[in-house]
Amino acid sequence: MSLRVKGLTVSFGGTRVLDGVDLEVPRNAVFAVMGPSGSGKSTLLRVFNRLIEIYPDVRVEGEVYLDGADIFELDLQNLRVRVQMVFQLPNPIPNLSIYENVALGLKLNRLARSRRELEERVRRALERAQLWDEVRDRLGSPASKLSGGQQQRLVLARALAFEPEVLLMDEPTANLDPVNTAKIEELMVELKRELTIVLVTHYPPQAARVSDYVAFMYRGRIVEVGRAGEIFTRPRNELTERYVTGKI
């Protein structure tokens, strides 16, 4: 297992947002998390890299293991290198250059031993995110000059540059056009050979296209989880069925 979650409960100032979540995410798979708005999908994702801890008044209880290691015992720098994230809105640092956006995380975490290695890793990350050909001639120009779809692939490159074990994707295509959406979806299928993807999506057809497993959340609980094929063809839970058929 890549991620193993036991009895995970998260509350914000006394309000429970996740309520006893148990989950196992296998390696080299795309694991989709679905569910209505406010059901706690983004919160769950932000536990995996402990990004949730930047919010005030948050309380996290339960156990989460990354490749067998308790993430709350792991060094936070180490965890954030191993578990990277792509967000709903593309969030490069706007005034930094395309190159710097990818290089910064590597520098901060001392992941490249030389300038050459750094440049090499930036280039490889941009290639893996299928952005290299579009930006190779203007690596020095500000990230804010890129289109939304390009920015989203840029932050994907930023994440991939870490060579993470787990990639968290929180509705990564929610703001993209069909062409850019298809690109990201193709990438997911390709990337899972090297890493594990946890994908939050609102869109059942997307989960059906790219995911191997699906968990369905409702009000902070996992209602149903299983292989994608089964969830979409034979949902056991009535809520899941209504969701995948577009009724909620």
Binding site: L51, P56, R80, F87, N95, L104, G105, L108
Partner: protein, 295 residues
């Protein structure tokens, strides 16, 4: 026109009139200073004015050289110290604004901005009298120098204290206005909170931060009161540069303060010229700050 539209128009006219009325004194002061200052500098000659010694009542002309050097030295030192304290403080206030201690500190800083700057000068004066007897023997042993009761260091320290709340408040608001997306991005790429705040978000908010440094610097360049009991003033150049730190130094606002009060025309003239130079310096820094925050 309907009654309502009429009232609306009248209201707008009133607002514009009030705005003009509010800006008028500032504009008048600037115009007056340039109107009297530029001819003064022209008569004396720009280079002579910027480098010469202040005139005694018997001189025909003079300049602001030592005061200008003092202002630049103390502005640089004061800004460096003010930023060194104010910036991290502002980052803390901005990043932890949801926490009680930060909120309390923020209101404390808001009061400090309004604190009379002459009291800051007195405070530094008192601190110097207490600290110097202990510090000077050490300095003498290590560096062979001593800091006197009135010094560039004391002046710069007072200016730094004046500057800290400005930098802290502007920096805090720069950090507070960073969107949730960037805030998350910064922490997602490093688990070291100090790096997320002081490297990633500093880069992300750099223009606003730079503007806060510049506005703070412009503010302290024009300060007189905090220097009265600290830098004291000095009409002469020093032979060795370190004395601008250890000994009493002049400053352009101090020179204006002294020279504008006398009954000697040549000194009043130099005061106006000095005011024109000072305003130009301050305006230039403000324009830089605007440019930094705009683009």
């Amino acid at each position: 026109m309907s009654r309502r539209a009429l009232v609306d128009k009248a209201g707008q006219a009133l607002v514009v009139a009030l705005a003009v009325l509010g800006a008028l004194p500032v504009v008048l002061v600037i115009v007056d200073i340039y109107a009297k200052g530029i001819p003064a500098i022209a008569r004396i000659g720009l280079v002579e004015f910027l480098t010469g010694l202040p005139p005694t009542p018997l001189d025909e002309a003079g300049g602001i050289g030592p005061a200008l050097v003092g202002t630049l030295v103390m502005a640089v030192m004061g800004a460096a110290m003010g930023i060194a304290v104010g910036f991290p403080l502002g980052v803390y206030l901005g990043a932890y604004r949801h926490e009680r201690l930060a909120a309390v500190s923020q209101s404390f800083i808001n009061v400090l901005v309004e604190y009379p700057t002459i009291a800051v000068g007195l405070f530094v004066y008192a601190a110097m009298s207490l600290a110097l007897p202990a510090v000077n023997p050490v300095l003498r042993a290590l560096l062979g120098v001593e800091v006197s009761q009135f010094s560039g260091l004391a002046g710069a320290t007072a200016l730094a204290i004046v500057m800290v709340p400005y930098v802290a408040i502007f920096t805090a608001s720069a950090y507070a206005s960073v969107g949730r997306e960037l805030w998350e991005a910064a922490h997602a790429i490093t688990g070291d909170e100090a790096k997320a705040l002081f490297v990633v978000l500093r880069k992300a908010a750099w223009r606003a931060i730079l503007a806060s440094f510049l506005i703070g610097t412009a503010k302290i360049m024009g300060e007189t009161a905090p220097l009265l009991f600290t830098a004291l003033g000095n009409d002469y150049y020093y032979a060795s540069p370190h004395e601008y730190v250890t000994g009493p130094v002049g400053a352009v606002p101090l020179l204006i303060y002294y020279m504008a009060q006398t009954n000697y025309e040549v000194q009043n003239e130099v005061a106006y010229g000095a005011a024109a130079v000072l305003i130009t310096l301050v305006l230039a820094v403000f324009v830089l700050a605007r440019a930094a925050s705009r683009r």
